[in-house]
Symmetry: C2
Subunit: 110 residues, 2 copies
């Protein structure tokens, strides 16, 4: 996992755009109408999202239909797998580590 996915979603308007596109692919103007920013900013954000591989474009007539790219989210899901043990593991690894640290301290003092 690299940081580019996180950094593009760190901008509130871009996260909004992603949420909007999660309903269905749509054109720039459709997105503009659902946000409180102007068209040039939306185009800029879409470019950043496209460069990061989060969305892609399909031109239809003189409209451009933006859609989420499944691969990006698939990769995030894969990355997140590593962290599922955090809450799925029934027994808490933290307690064990802390206990071990305390033991080490005691031993050092002997």
């Amino acid at each position: 996992m690299n940081t580019s996915f996180f950094s593009v979603l760190a901008e509130p308007n871009r996260l909004n755009i992603v949420e909007i596109l999660s309903n269905q692919p749509q054109s720039v103007n459709q997105i503009v109408m659902k946000l409180h920013i102007r068209q040039p900013q939306v185009s800029k954000h879409l470019k950043i999202l496209a460069d990061a591989g989060v969305v892609d474009v399909n031109p239809i007539a003189n409209k451009r239909i933006y859609a989420l790219k499944p691969q990006a989210f698939k990769e995030l899901d894969l990355w997140l797998k590593k962290y599922r043990v955090l809450w799925e593991d029934r027994f808490n690894a933290l307690d064990k580590v802390l206990e071990k640290e305390k033991q080490k301290l005691k031993e050092e003092r002997r």
Copy 2:
């Protein structure tokens, strides 16, 4: 989902710290030794991570053991659920939307 989780992980060193902590909770110095930045920066990044609820601290002697907070990752997982249909759905919604847009255009021309 708010952007704070994404924005804290957008910084490469912080993402590194998270990956390091995914192995096990550990002290500031242990983290410093595994990165190429100095202790004050690590402390700063840890503070940002803590403020965002991604990590928390347990003091042991004069060390401070940082650990990932499961809840943060659980929330990301929950958010991501909405996007799983993107690659799990066998039939591709994009094609349908594009087809529909083309239809609309044709109808407008009549």
